[in-house]
Amino acid sequence: MYAYILRRLAWSVPFLFAASFLAFTIIQAPPGDYVESYAAKLEADGRQVDEVRLNSLRDRFGLDEPFLSQYWKWISGIAKGDFGLSFQWQQPVSELIGDRMILSVILATSTLLFTWAIALPIGILSAVRQYSWGDYFFSIIGFIGLATPNFLVALILMYVGVVYFGTNVTGLFSAEYVNAEWSWAKFLDLVKHLIIPVVIIGTSATASLIRIMRANLLDELYKPYVTTARAKGLSEFKTILKYPVRIALNPFASTIAWVFPQIISGSTVVAVVLSLPTVDPLMLDALLTQDMYLAGAFILMLSVMSIIGMIVSDIVLAMIDPRIRYR
């Protein structure tokens, strides 16, 4: 087991390097650089473009240097915790992302917990009572959930909230808490505001998880080892929970891998619609304005999150399934 974990960790180092290189290549790929789009923006606004200032900007960020040395500057800065400066915000990238990141993590985690808490029991019920009234009911709800785009649900809920309840459902904090210090009251306010985004972002995931759980479990329910468990005298509830459900859960461990990158980019549209102060809208903005270091930081984080997610899911899989561990 330890050898397995070590091996996975060792392999992640070259992957991380490759990912960072790729991230940098991608942000360099579009023609032009930030200074050019900045100049274009100034011109469009009808303002004077100061060549001297532009050149000093280029020098400062090393935009004229060869590709590899720019990469080296960037990656060695990151190793020291310096992600560079956002051109647009004129702030260090790490400061910009920091606060929003915490909220993103909170949002993603609560969405995940919500999804699992709802989807797993319903999936099990749908499989065990296949073709029952409940199975059909949840299947229909599930398909509707799958088919409805998230932003539509968000708009509908916003409308309902404002028109019928007179509350503003956007944002993650009420106005009085936005800049307040963390306190119990602020936390409760956050929880209150979380409910709607979590439901919106979680619906489609819940719906698909129900289908996956149902299908996985149906494959396992009629395996001989389930009969063996019944023949031992276990109750039906315990039989199903201890054996087929346990094995049907294995594929879920693999889904952990793509939960991690979703922290950053999983709910962009919804976050924009509901003006949530998470990292998603910031990333969209950075990509649109070619804010190179900010965008680079996001792309790198996405890759790192994917790699971490993969390692975590591999380790979890190995823990719950001995067949993988002993390979």
């Binding site: 080892y225 023949a231 031992k232 005298g233 039906e236 054996y243 094995i247 719950i320 399934d321 002993y326």
Partner: protein, 581 residues
């Protein structure tokens, strides 16, 4: 029905007029139809029948384990709780047929009073729980033991079923065990609460003969030690001869013969029982048809000559997967196959039989050695290093019939597509010619022409194997490799398929490589035999000589494990295990 043949004294379980039905769209189907049987402590009742005869459904009915849409429609299953040897005669009887499948009462009986073992020890054990956790469960449930005390009991039980190193084995997973060890673990699980009745549903069918022999001995010992009643389900009369005290023969849901093992073997009443006994006896003699045929049509010149074949498989281990491990699957194999000859390859699972077959067919690459094939024109060529394109003509001449007739036919292709595919690949492009040839082939393998447009699911196992054979002989090959082609079939069907193969050999002058784990079949069907053990050919020669005067210890061990054919022979055979690394 024929209950008078059983000693009615003190049965512990009485099945009376049991009917278990399956409700399907096409109506009600009686899987178990008016069956009455008794189980007596300290005795083994063997329930014999083909697949689909209802024997498994019967065994599951006892514990209310029949999956939907099956249900018990009528009849009684009386479990007598106290042994009536105490003169008071205060036995409490419980009718299991009346219980709810999920009721606490039946759950208390499952595993505590009646234990059960299943056919597939791999799929019947959970792959992600340790052996220990799966066995301990019953003790915690039925005897309320704590984990610590239960663990000691489980280790003791594992020792009783002769699992080596039980202290370590208890924390291992099923996939770390061999097939035989898994079945021992399964037996330990069924017997951990000392049940009075054991139901064993084909527990040795998936095992090698040598392992089967050991498991049968173990069950017999445990029966005596615990004064247990065993209901043993099997389709193999040899197994019945080994262990049964009583025999019940089932067919189409009904018990057609029921009696003392001696009576059934000496004076079978029903024709079906007679046929079963005959096919069991066949495994003791070479096929008379084959011997007669060799008189008329003697074995010809060498067609395939292998010398010093070697096949290795590689795996990767170590911290970064850099260390290479090598498994020698076939080591230094040399043999010759002649025209019109049947060459048997026997050995246990993992001995390299199938790998050897794939090597001579050149589906696998060969690491070392030479392979000469002499084609129809008499040209002898080295084929061991040819590439796929160069092998095309050879592949047309060598075809395979696989073990599992359910898995080896594409369920989405009709019979004419299945057979026609290999004709098309071999250049028969005219649909009219193909159809004509397919009909000819169907006739050869004894299938009606109406089979043409039907799909594999419409056929029984035996018929499917006929389709496989038709597919194999379609391009007019010279060598057929039959890889356990009859192992998945019922005994009566097996004989028919072997006769068909024999007939085809006569008509088409085929050479067979017949892979089997069953020495009896090889003796019946093959002219010569190769005995394989862990990749090595340890003995080869005339099949009759090898079966009667084996020279290698492993062959002797294999022969000693082949079931006897009559209960009179019990104890006449000295069993021994071949131990060699």
């Amino acid at each position: 029905m024929t209950q008078q043949n059983l000693p009615a004294d003190h049965p512990i379980l009485e099945i009376k007029n049991l009917v278990t039905v399956f409700e399907t769209r096409h109506g009600i189907f009686n899987a178990v139809d008016d069956v009455s049987l008794n189980l007596v402590p300290g005795e083994t009742l063997c329930l014999v029948g083909e697949s689909g005869s209802g024997k498994s459904v019967l065994s599951r009915s006892i514990l209310q384990l029949v999956d939907r849409p099956g249900r018990i429609a009528s009849g009684e299953i009386l479990l007598h709780e106290a042994h009536p040897s105490s003169k008071t005669e205060q036995t409490r009887s419980l009718d299991l047929a009346k219980l709810e499948a999920r009721s606490g009462v039946i759950r208390n009986i499952r595993g505590r009073d009646i234990g059960m073992i299943f056919q597939e020890p791999m799929s019947s054990l959970s792959p992600v729980h340790t052996i220990g956790s799966q066995i301990t469960e019953s003790l915690v449930l039925h005897e309320g033991l704590n984990k610590k005390a239960a663990r000691d009991r489980v280790i003791e039980m594992l020792r009783r079923v002769e699992i080596p190193n039980p202290e370590k084995a208890i924390d291992q997973y099923p996939f770390e065990f061999s097939g035989g060890m898994r079945q021992r673990a399964m037996i330990a699980m069924a017997l951990i609460c000392n049940p009075k009745i054991l139901i064993a549903d084909e527990p040795t069918t998936a095992l090698d003969v040598t392992i089967q022999a050991e498991i049968l001995d173990l069950l017999n010992d445990l029966k005596k030690q615990n004064d247990m009643a065993i209901l043993f389900i099997t389709h193999d009369m040899g197994v019945v001869a080994e262990i049964a005290d009583h025999v019940a023969v089932m067919r189409h849901g009904k018990v057609i013969e029921n009696g003392n093992v001696q009576d059934v073997f000496d004076r079978p009443k029903h024709d079906y029982t007679k046929a079963l006994l005959k096919s069991a006896r066949d495994s003791q003699i070479p096929s008379p048809d084959r011997l007669a045929q060799r008189q008329v049509q003697p074995i010809g010149a060498p067609i395939l000559e292998a010398s010093n074949l070697r096949k290795e498989f590689y795996g990767k281990t170590g911290l970064l997967g850099m260390t290479q491990t090598t498994l020698v699957a076939v080591n230094d194999a040399s043999f010759t196959l002649h025209e019109g000859e049947t060459l048997g390859v026997v050995g246990e699972s993992g001995s390299g039989k199938t790998t050897l077959a794939r090597c001579i067919q050149r589906v696998h690459s060969i690491e070392a050695g030479q392979l000469h094939y002499t084609n129809r024109g008499g040209d002898r060529a080295e084929i061991s290093q040819l590439n796929d394109a160069q092998l095309q003509p050879t592949w047309r001449d060598m075809r395979t019939v696989f073990q599992d007739p359910f898995a080896s036919l594409n369920p989405r292709m009709s019979v004419s597509q299945i057979i026609g595919e290999s004709l098309l690949l071999n250049g028969m492009t005219s649909p009219v010619d193909r159809r004509k040839r397919i009909l000819e082939l169907l006739d050869l393998v004894g299938l009606p022409s109406s089979a043409l447009e039907r799909y594999p699911h419409a056929f029984s196992g035996g018929q499917r194997q006929r389709i496989s054979i038709a597919r194999a002989i379609a391009p007019n090959p010279r060598i057929i490799i039959a890889d356990e082609a009859t192992s998945a079939l019922d005994v009566s069907i097996r004989t028919q398929i072997m006769d068909l193969l024999q007939e085809l050999q006569k008509e088409l002058r085929l050479s067979y490589v017949f892979i089997s784990h069953d020495l009896g079949l090889v003796r019946y069907f093959c002219d010569r035999v190769l005995v394989m053990f862990k990749g090595d050919i340890v003995e080869s020669g005339d099949s009759e000589t090898v079966c009667t005067q084996p020279t290698h210890d492993y062959t002797r061990a294999l022969l000693s494990a082949v079931p006897i054919t009559h209960p009179d022979q019990r104890g006449s055979r000295q069993r021994f295990r071949y131990e060699n690394g």
